[in-house]
């Protein structure tokens, strides 16, 4: 039996403490991009994100899924809650072994150019198997005016 979506706490990294929900989507074909988008909306809903922020997060996750799909190999998108002091957020991450040896700075510039408006933080962790990590915080005020200023 094939499991396209499983919950697991393995292989998730990042600088923040993890909290539920913890969801994982394996990305193998273009249909999985829709599943990533849907799962991200569900995860962000569980954390209490407003619809507009769910839209941002699901677009960021889907874009990351499209990126990993272009490598031609199956990869996994991890979605998990994170805590940093009083802040709660949603982390979206994926291992990107094809970026090993590529300048982290160049990767971050490219990612921020494409996705920087959608999330609060974009990081690249690890050397041998780099992981792209994106976080949006729930507790930071994001008004339409704040969006305009980004």
């Amino acid at each position: 039996m094939e499991h396209r979506r499983v919950n697991t706490m393995t292989d998730i990294r990042g600088p923040y403490h993890m909290r539920p929900p913890i969801m994982t989507v394996k990305v193998e074909d273009s249909m999985d991009i829709m599943i990533v988008r849907d799962t991200t909306r569900r995860a962000s809903s569980l954390l209490g994100f407003a619809p507009a922020h769910r839209a941002q997060l699901s677009s960021a996750a889907a874009t990351l899924a499209e990126l990993v799909l272009k490598t031609g190999e199956s990869h996994t998108i991890h979605l998990n809650g994170v805590i940093d002091g009083a802040r709660t957020g949603l982390q979206i991450s994926s291992e990107t072994p094809w970026l090993a040896g590529v300048s982290a700075n160049n990767v971050l510039v490219a990612l921020r150019s494409k996705l920087g408006d959608l999330v609060d933080e974009i990081m690249l962790e690890g050397h041998d198997v780099p992981i792209i990590i994106m976080v949006m915080w729930l507790n930071e005020v994001k008004s339409p005016e704040a969006l305009d200023g980004e």
Partner: protein
Amino acid sequence: MALEVLLVEDSKTQAAQIKETLESVGLRVRIAYDGPDGIREAIENPPALVVLDVKLPSMDGFQVCRRLKRNPSTQDIPVIMLTEKAGPQATMSGLRAGADDYIPKDIFASEHLINTLQELGILE
């Protein structure tokens, strides 16, 4: 009395499908087939919600949303953009135009639309 939704969608086929979804949860639906008509309808008879496509003839959904959000008589009406343009730039354009949600037209669209209607208090 059921709340009324103004659906701005140029495709008659898609308008019929979205109308069916909205009516299935007890809402009444009025349809405008282009942006200027949608704005006129919203001003003359303000609905409880606007569901707005992006690709529209003569004026796109982003422009329609901005105009609705700048008009004091329509600025408080929630707007959900329901669209085939799903990329990061389009998403941010929709949200910056003032949309309350931006939902890609995929197989989960109806479910996400209904969830958002509940969240916005349009549905109990």
